[in-house]
């Protein structure tokens, strides 16, 4: 049970961290790590069944816009607004469900990109509702009701809960019957179906969990940054490519891969953005693209699997608590 102790120590450390060190820049970095852990875990649920979505910004943007518009125009607190936001996200997910069930491989990925792109353009054009490219600003009324704060500490805990919650959900899902079905679908959809797995239902469960967590993140993250505009809310770089990159670097279709990927890539991303990005616009993402190509060529299983073998050598526990970093075919 060494791993459980390790997790508890980690949780305790994270809970008290802001008491000891709360420089705003540092807290922002940790919040971004938590955000990306949750987003990558959400994206990863769909990757468990071998489907790569590059359209998750659609779910993020739909939920973010719904709660932001309700908050700004009707004064609805995001705590209530997140329910209609999730509803709209699930309607979006239902729309993406059709390509998910009918297409596989790159064709589903393309359809998902087009899906997010359509929504972004609609958000740009529907000025009455979204104010188009100018964007909407969340009124700054500090307090829990409006979810806007003068310090970053409340958001530290909000995103800590979201990150821990999504890791927990993926962990539970991974070892449930549905999780096994998802992996069966990833390795061979026809064979899974022939064995009596309801592949459609299983994939829908994955899609709705994935979309729901992403939508929830959209609601909270928009309150955190105070404003929303289409290029940001439906940004493929921030909410589609980044979680995919974190996922593949950590290890696709594993529980801890997204965590490791986000912990590594978020500081790297922030560093590249502030140093290289200042040096030359675009250099940071250029490096990202090369990293992605390099990782796929050199470590196609992500870095979880080699790390795990090291980890197992250090902690000779027999419990197979962590999953194998994997081939998703």
């Amino acid at each position: 049970m060494k791993q459980r102790h390790l997790l508890m120590a980690l949780a305790a450390g994270l809970l008290v961290l802001p008491i000891f060190y709360s420089a705003p820049y540092f807290l922002h970095l940790v919040i971004m790590i938590f955000f990306y852990i949750a987003l990558t875990e959400a994206w990863n649920i769909l990757a468990l069944c071998g489907k790569v979505s590059l359209g998750h910004a659609a779910f993020f943007g739909l939920a973010a816009y719904t709660s932001a518009i309700l908050c700004i125009k009707k004064g609805v607190t995001p705590w209530i607004g997140l329910f209609p936001a999730l509803l709209v996200t699930f309607i979006g997910a239902a729309a993406l469900a059709i390509p998910l069930l009918r297409l596989r491989g790159p064709m589903f990925t393309l359809a998902s990109i087009a899906f997010a792109e359509v929504l972004r353009r609609v958000a740009m054009v529907w000025r009455d509702l979204t104010a188009g490219a100018e964007g909407l600003t969340i009124p700054f009324v500090p307090g829990w009701q409006n979810l806007t704060f003068t310090t970053k500490i409340p958001y530290y805990y909000i995103f800590l809960i979201l990150a821990a919650g999504s890791v927990y959900i993926v962990h539970r899902l991974y070892y449930s019957a549905t999780g096994h079905h998802l992996r069966a679908i990833a390795s061979d959809e026809e064979a899974a179906q022939a064995l009596g797995i309801n592949t459609q239902k299983t994939q829908l469960i994955a899609l709705f969990w994935s979309a729901g967590i992403t939508g929830l993140l959209g609601v909270f993250y928009t309150q955190y940054v105070y404003m929303i505009e289409p290029e940001w809310a439906f940004s493929s770089a921030l909410f589609c490519l980044q979680p995919a990159l974190n996922g593949i670097i950590g290890g696709l279709g594993t529980v801890w891969g997204p965590v490791i990927g986000s912990v590594l890539m978020t500081p790297l991303g922030e560093y590249l953005r502030s140093y290289l990005g200042a040096l030359q616009q675009g250099l940071n993402f250029f490096v990202y693209g090369l990293v992605l190509i390099g990782v796929v060529m050199v470590l196609p299983g992500g870095i979880v699997s080699p790390l795990l073998s090291l980890f197992k050598r250090w902690t000779p526990s027999k419990a197979p608590a962590l999953d194998q970093g994997g081939k998703v075919r």
């Binding site: 390509p99 297409l103 490519l241 030359q280 190509i293």
Partner: protein, 295 residues
């Protein structure tokens, strides 16, 4: 009514260039069997090259094709040799990630080199039009359309008549048997990728006199090429050509009658609908499409 005919003509002319772009994609897909997410980026590179040749060396965009096409041929071969070939036998997911990585890298390379500005070139004929029976035809679009038709005709001849073309069709039909018949498949992949990229590059050069180039332009053209290719039937050359004309028409009509800002949204919706309702495309698919997700 006159407006409608005007819209049709201008859409059809645009569609010719889209056909060229999409035939390039179909060629690569049909033979190499890879969905290249960086396809539009190849076109973006060609557009910037054309822009640079015109700005720095005053080379006419149509003349610059003799530089752009070989340059893109080499780029395409490089992509195949150094990026696709090493991962050729890995899973579909890995192929997606590699080409997505390439797409991110190229897009941001363009951002580094050219900044986020919208750029185009000024030519003496950019605004000139021909009047035919009350319909005005934009000269650059007409030139682009004719150019594209000639090239497409050339490609079809190449595929039908030459040994390389026959080898390409053989590999598209059945890679293993083609290899057993003594075709050097890896080398043919290089040639095919180069040729498809060159076609795409020429399409970029032809578009530049009447459109803009900016770093993220490639993503739009990647999706556009896939819309056309899926509509025409994946791996189906003639389908890609007709699909290109069709999407040109759709873009033109929706730009006028719905909203210019939503014209891309309209054909993305058509894309998703086609995938759902008739995934084999309007004109039937080529071989091997089940591998990439069309059942």
């Amino acid at each position: 009514m006159e407006l409608f005919i005007q819209v049709l003509v201008s859409g059809l002319l645009l569609g010719g260039v889209y056909a060229l772009l999409s035939v390039g994609l179909t060629l690569i897909f049909g033979v190499v069997r890879i969905i290249n997410f960086a396809h539009g980026e190849l076109m973006m590179m060609a557009m910037y090259l054309t822009y640079w040749l015109c700005q720095a060396h005053q080379i006419d965009p149509y003349l610059s094709v003799i530089i752009v096409a070989p340059a893109l041929f080499l780029v395409g071969m490089g992509v195949q040799r150094f990026i696709i070939q090493p991962i050729f036998d890995s899973s579909a997911l890995m192929k997606i990630f590699v080409t997505v990585g390439l797409f991110i890298a190229l897009q941001n390379l363009a951002l580094m080199l050219f900044k986020a500005d919208f750029r185009t070139i000024q030519t003496s004929y950019a605004m000139s039009t021909l009047e035919v029976g009350g319909i005005s035809i934009s000269v650059p679009r007409l030139i682009a359309f004719c150019f594209a038709l000639v090239l497409l005709g050339g490609l079809f001849m190449l595929l039908k008549l030459t040994l390389v073309g026959k080898a390409m069709r053989a590999v598209a039909e059945n890679r293993v048997v083609a290899e057993l018949m003594g075709i050097r498949v890896q080398r043919l992949y290089l040639i095919t990728f180069g040729l498809g990229s060159a076609m795409t590059g020429i399409a970029g050069a032809l578009l530049l006199p009447f459109t803009y180039v900016f770093p993220t332009v490639g993503a739009i053209y990647t999706l556009l090429a896939f819309v056309v290719v899926v509509l025409g039937g994946l791996g189906n050359m003639a389908g890609a050509f007709l699909g290109g004309l069709f999407i040109g028409l759709i873009e033109s009509i929706s730009g006028v009658y719905i909203s210019p800002a939503l014209k891309e949204a309209v054909y993305f919706v058509i894309f998703i609908l086609t995938l759902l309702v008739r995934p084999q495309g309007l004109f039937g698919v080529g071989k091997g499409t089940e591998e990439v997700g069309l059942k």
